[in-house]
């Protein structure tokens, strides 16, 4: 996708919150990125580091942690939960139709400031 724009949104959101709370530095930012979110984690990380380096002291040396959320389905027939990954949303047990539970997340999970 356009990971640089997403990285910019992360920096703006975290930066605004950190300034409001009077933090001098953001130590770490943790994101949740779903397997089916169409986002490339490496590219997001690179974009984040480049933009962070332009932000001065607040984002000096900030670590970006990206937690991948696997695509997970739940079977509407038997209730089994399963990994949808590249296999899709058909239940591996009973062949029933699955519904997507996780895997499209694109979230700022948390950040640590000091």
């Amino acid at each position: 996708m356009h990971e640089l724009g997403l990285a910019q949104s992360v920096i703006e959101a975290v930066g605004a919150d950190a300034r409001r709370r009077g933090f001098r530095r953001v130590k770490r930012v943790t994101l949740r990125v779903g397997e089916w979110s169409a986002v490339l984690p490496d590219s997001l990380e690179t974009g984040f580091q480049i933009l962070a380096s332009l932000e001065g002291e607040l984002f000096a040396g900030t670590e970006l942690r990206i937690e991948r959320e696997p695509a997970r389905g739940v079977c509407t027939a038997c209730g089994r939960r399963f990994l949808a990954g590249r296999g899709g949303l058909i239940c591996p047990d009973c062949g029933g139709d699955g519904r997507l539970e996780n895997g499209v997340e694109l979230e700022i999970e948390s950040y640590e400031g000091e």
């Binding site: 997403l6 949104s9 959101a13 899709g88 949303l89 058909i90 499209v104 694109l106 700022i108 948390s110």
Partner: protein, 213 residues
């Protein structure tokens, strides 16, 4: 601070949705590859539902006004959004376009997104329904390659079925691939060129319009 990275877009999308709901208009976001036939599907939809439903369209395109001219030629109100190379529509672009439309006069607003199966899948425009337009010439592996787009669709149109004989693509294989990544989606194989298979799609869409009216 758990929050969506696209929180700003989500907020504008919510505001768009309240405008749609206040006007009683059903809004559909069409996503598909460049050349899948999104505009041709819109043309068939506008022609087919004329007299049954009051329509309006928003056309997303990187640079040209060609698609909007095709819709305007059918005497349907249309607004062109040029993204200046941008790879997707977002909620604020749609919000600006809404200022140029008489929403209250419409029952159904069709939004054609920029041709792309990746980026548009992340941006809520405030629509009620997402429809993916896939053409048979693209092959059966697109749902597996672009699950983000397919999983959010309420319907998938398999376009260009009139060209099936010219390809090695098996329609059953395409349908099975879509079901694998979205078992709940309604699937409509059709040809926007010949009109074959268009009526079931129109009936499905008309039913959804009646449900909000």
């Amino acid at each position: 601070m758990v929050e969506r990275i696209l929180k700003a877009n989500d907020a504008v999308a919510r505001s768009n949705r309240s405008r749609f709901d206040a006007a009683g208009v059903l809004v559909v976001n069409f996503i598909g590859s460049p050349g899948a036939g999104k505009t041709a599907v819109l043309e068939q939809t506008v022609k087919g539902l004329r007299g049954r439903v009051a329509l309006a369209c928003i056309e997303g395109d990187p640079y040209t006004t060609r698609d909007a001219e095709r819709i305007a030629a059918l005497d349907c109100p249309v607004v062109q959004i040029n993204t200046q190379g941008g790879c997707h529509l977002d909620a604020s672009l749609v919000s600006q376009a809404l200022d140029q439309l008489d929403l209250a006069a419409a029952d159904l607003l069709l939004i054609e997104n920029v041709g792309n199966l990746l980026c548009p899948s992340q941006y809520d425009l405030g629509e009620h329904l997402t429809v993916v337009v896939l053409s048979v010439t693209e092959g059966a592996d697109k749902p597996e390659k672009y699950p983000a787009a397919f999983q959010r669709a309420q319907a998938v149109i398999i376009n260009k079925v009139d060209a099936l004989a010219l390809t090695d693509v098996d329609l059953d294989a395409v349908t099975a691939a879509i079901r694998r990544f979205n078992p709940q989606a309604a699937i409509f194989p059709l040809s926007a060129r010949t009109g074959e298979g268009v009526e079931p799609w129109l009936l499905w869409l008309e039913d959804r319009v009646k449900a909000v009216r």
